[in-house]
């Protein structure tokens, strides 16, 4: 599941902090994301996971250091550039009021891909998610699971350097969730894609993550660094979740 140890990190965050109205909503001490990494942010509702994900994806302005492919992301223009090389899937699919095909093409078109190129890659992404037969459907004719597959296809179609997932399966029924987890892990492995996966579900975290960061609401609010557990092993036998040895070594 991991890329070669010599690969340069695609995303680096140091002392990244989202502050609104004088309150720290989320903080991260130091993280590196390598190509092929599936990094899980695990924590309770309100722990600031989603805020953190938005900061990492350039959707929210944040203090501290964020580097994407070796370049600092400090300006609005740099955040847009970051968003144009990455993709995000949220808990709700947020499909545009147009066909599944146009939805999947939309990210590519916004990034100025040629029409034919966008069509080709959208078709491939729809195929990959097993929903080629839904290409002409509008969102109101899709089930929740189908809509989320369209949303995931839309994210994968742009071939993102980093894929950000914010509770992507939380709104789906358990069978759909299980199938999608397996499919997604296969896709990530095949593409050696860097992934940041936010979830509140520790089973999901264990199933998908190479590395798991555990976020507690209190520590986030006080702006204390979150703890990072090295592996699933660490999470399975937590002596104390707040004091798992911090290690950024590759698992």
């Amino acid at each position: 599941m991991s890329a070669s140890a010599s690969a340069a990190p695609v995303l680096v965050a140091r002392d990244l902090e989202v502050v609104r109205a004088g309150r720290t909503l989320a903080h991260i001490d130091a993280r590196e994301l390598l190509p092929g990494d599936v990094h899980v942010l695990l924590g309770a509702n309100g722990a600031g996971k989603s805020t953190l994900l938005k900061a990492l994806n350039g959707l929210e302005e944040a203090r501290g250091t964020l580097e994407f492919e070796g370049r600092a992301v400090a300006t609005a223009a740099a955040r847009l550039a970051l968003r144009r090389r990455t993709a995000a899937v949220f808990q709700r699919p947020y499909l545009l009021a147009t066909s599944a095909r146009h939805n999947v093409e939309s990210g590519l078109r916004l990034r100025r891909a040629a029409r034919a190129e966008a069509r080709r890659r959208a078709a491939a992404a729809l195929d990959l998610l097993g929903i080629a037969h839904l290409a002409a459907r509008k969102p109101d004719r899709l089930s929740g699971g189908e809509a989320q597959r369209v949303s995931i296809a839309r994210a994968l179609a742009v071939d993102p350097a980093v894929l950000f997932l914010d509770e992507p399966l939380a709104a789906l029924d358990p069978p759909t969730r299980r199938t999608l987890v397996t499919e997604l892990l296969d896709i990530f492995a095949a593409r050696a894609m860097a992934v940041v996966w936010v979830t509140h579900d520790s089973d999901e975290a264990l199933a998908v993550g190479d590395r798991v960061s555990f976020r507690r609401a209190a520590s986030c609010r006080r702006g204390r660094p979150s703890t990072s557990s090295r592996t699933r092993r660490a999470l399975r036998s937590p002596t104390s979740s707040g004091s798992t040895p911090t290690s950024r070594a590759r698992s």
Partner: protein, 233 residues
Amino acid sequence: MDLIWNGIVEALRLLFGGDGSIYEIAWRSLWISGVALVIAVAMGVPLGAAVALNEFGGRRVVVAATNTGMAAPPVVVGLLVSLFLTRNGPLGDLRWLYTPWAMVIAQVVIALPIVMGLSQAALQQIDVGMRQQIAALGAGHLQGFVLLLREIRVSLLAAVMAAFGGVISEVGAVMMVGGNIEGQTQVLTTAIVQQTRIGRWSVAIALSIILMILAYGANFAMTVVQQQGRRRA
């Protein structure tokens, strides 16, 4: 009853008899309101979006003012525009009072709050999450704005129809700033008032029929666009 019946028959004769002056008045109504509508939409939609999508001090004051403007009496607008355009007024040097341009300005003032208020309300209905998703797809400011407009196109066309209905049918403002000058600033509504007042019922009815057809035709065209792709249950 005879009066009404004869009026209608005479009106139809005027309509199909090719009385050029009636159609000249209709055309003037259409272009004045059309130009005003285009200007109001070009200004009102971005302004509505700015209010809907941003936080700033005095935001509520702006929203309340816009909503009040949606119900502004045309005669008050007429007075306001007259004050600006009168010879000694701030814009008096333009010499626009009692010209079609004064009427366009008055109708922009009437239509702008309608377009602005309704597009702002529609944009505010869009989930913040959707806006975030659009940004995450890689949309810049302008691209995101265009995508959002596409999402609210049904409401947006309703706003345009409401504004068009408001300006094509109003009489107070165009009467005051245009002066109902025959062959120059007379439009359908002001002509209807005048013809009714002097008892030429048939002409008033003929003009009213044209006005209704214009209003229906424009709204029908926009409705066709609006209802495209509607899901049939």
